[in-house]
Amino acid sequence: MADLRIKIGPMEFRNPVILASGTCGYGAELEDFMDLSELGGIIVKGTTLEPREGNPYPRMAETASGMLNAVGLQNKGIDYFEKNIYPVLAKYDTHVIVNVNGNTIEEYVELSRRLDLLTAIPAIELNISCPNVKKGGMIFGTNPASAREVIAAVRKVYHKTLIVKLSPNVTDITEFARISEGEGAEAVSLVNTLLGMAIDASTMKPKLSTVTGGLSGPAIKPVALRMVWQVARAVRIPVIGLGGIMNAEDAIEFILAGATAVQVGTVSFINPRSGTEIVNGIEKYLVEKEFDSVSRITGIINRN
């Protein structure tokens, strides 16, 4: 038995495995495959103040060891969320975190304020890195001044655990991590998708209705791992690592690089019970290597 518990700000997580936003719906969709209470937490779908229809179909293209998506934050808005989804989420025996999105700082702030009041949501993940919307999203996450402004504004109204989700589409991701830390975020999560594109040579057209989209899956793991390693050395707040994790070994690599916790995203499309399999795999690894807790291996490659 190894101790898998980890802490992020004031929150204790049963284990370091969290389902990533936009890849686990509201959790219920995966309940046939695993017991959500065996996970560290789930981060539900990207949510906005107003309902959004998202981008036109086609929104998806398969790529080498990965996929592009251009969903564009389709969701029913916070009113619907509060009334119809929150009551269900409130019953889950795992941390439920909401991924917060906006076109403007005001929208981010208003949404965060509303979520601050929902007692069963102990944390939000501020998404300043969505590449699939014209306004907001990645624009905040790729400009240091805008990032600082939106994080500071949300921090003022949001009193629980604030996680900032960073974009990999930047020259120096540690700059954004330091800004997050400086503005009082309890943690950063990285990476969101890499901006990519696919073309169908036979039709001579882009495969996505939006031309560009977000690349996820194992293809991006080397880049994500590098960024997690860089950020873990640059800030003291916990780093939540993700990007291409397919199994426990991948998750462990992120932890060795310095991640306190990990998120699993695209893999859920291929193996809808991967979340709990990864929890079990991490435990098995620790036992085999004779570590009594996951914290013993966090960032171990940086220790000497």
Binding site: T23, E29, G54, M60, I270, P272
Partner: protein, 259 residues
């Protein structure tokens, strides 16, 4: 009906025609209830360019032997790999997924129409309709005589009308050109096939106010309603074709705008 992820065992793989084949897989756990129109998400191993699962309609179910049939057309590397499955190999499925066709009421006149791999869901649908005491009729369309798939099993359930684009067998033209389709007073039409075929069928049914359900084949990543990639514009906004579909009543689709 709980969804599950399971390694099934391939018990058969038979070629129907150039690039079409039927795979049979056996569940040692015992099959769950599967409704006509539902699909599976198949994991393709050993195909380096196939990252995601592949959605495939349930072609037939034999509860007695706990066997599912899949009718597959080779379209690319994923289906190509599936075409080489041999008995004894495992096929990992996430299933059963999606909604289902609405069964007819007693006494209704129903036509099941499709072409190519769109025939896949129609056999099981026909079987269920037949079991419910209604006689299914089938209208199947093909490019030409050499592309016609064996349809013995359809024939055993009800009358089959054929069309080929070049008239080399059955009626010349598309399924919508088949006289029985145009002239008989159908209460319900079910369709699965290439998009142009489904749109033509939908247009015909609308003009004659016939209840019509189609099974869409939108690109899918998850099949579980968690990626929101498979959306289709409907009168109630963008819906997931993997959970709210793949079967839609054509009156709910905004086809006029999407293409």
């Amino acid at each position: 009906m709980k969804k599950r992820i399971e390694d099934l065992t391939v018990t058969g793989n038979s070629r129907l025609a150039e690039s079409f084949f039927v795979i049979k897989v056996y569940s040692s756990e015992g099959l769950p209830e599967i409704k006509p129109g539902q699909f599976v998400q198949a994991l393709v191993t050993e195909s380096p360019s196939t990252f995601l699962r592949r959605p495939l309609s349930v072609h037939d179910v034999d509860p007695a032997t706990n066997t599912i049939s899949l009718l597959i057309q080779t379209a690319g590397p994923g289906t190509e790999r599936l075409s080489r499955l041999t008995p004894g190999e495992k096929l990992n499925l996430v299933y059963p997924l999606g909604n289902s066709f609405t069964l007819p009421a007693k006494g209704e006149r129903v036509l099941l129409t499709g072409g190519g791999c769109g025939m896949a869901p129609l056999l099981y649908l026909g079987r269920k309709i037949s079991e419910s005491g209604v006689q299914p009729h089938f209208a199947l369309g093909f490019r030409n005589r050499s592309r016609i798939l064996s349809h013995k099993e359809f024939t055993s359930l009800g009358p089959v009308y054929l069309s080929t684009e070049d008239g080399s067998e059955g009626h010349r033209g598309f399924v919508t050109d088949i006289p029985e389709f145009r002239n008989e007073p159908w209460d319900r039409v079910y369709c699965c096939g290439p998009e142009p075929m489904m749109k033509a069928v939908a247009a015909l049914c609308r003009s004659r106010e016939i209840f019509c359900e189609v099974s869409l084949e939108n690109l899918m990543a998850c099949g579980l309603g968690i990626c929101l990639c498979c959306v289709v514009p409907t009168t109630s906004g963008n819906l997931c074709s993997c959970t709210d579909g793949p079967v839609f009543n054509v009156n709910d689709l905004k086809w006029q705008t999407s293409g």
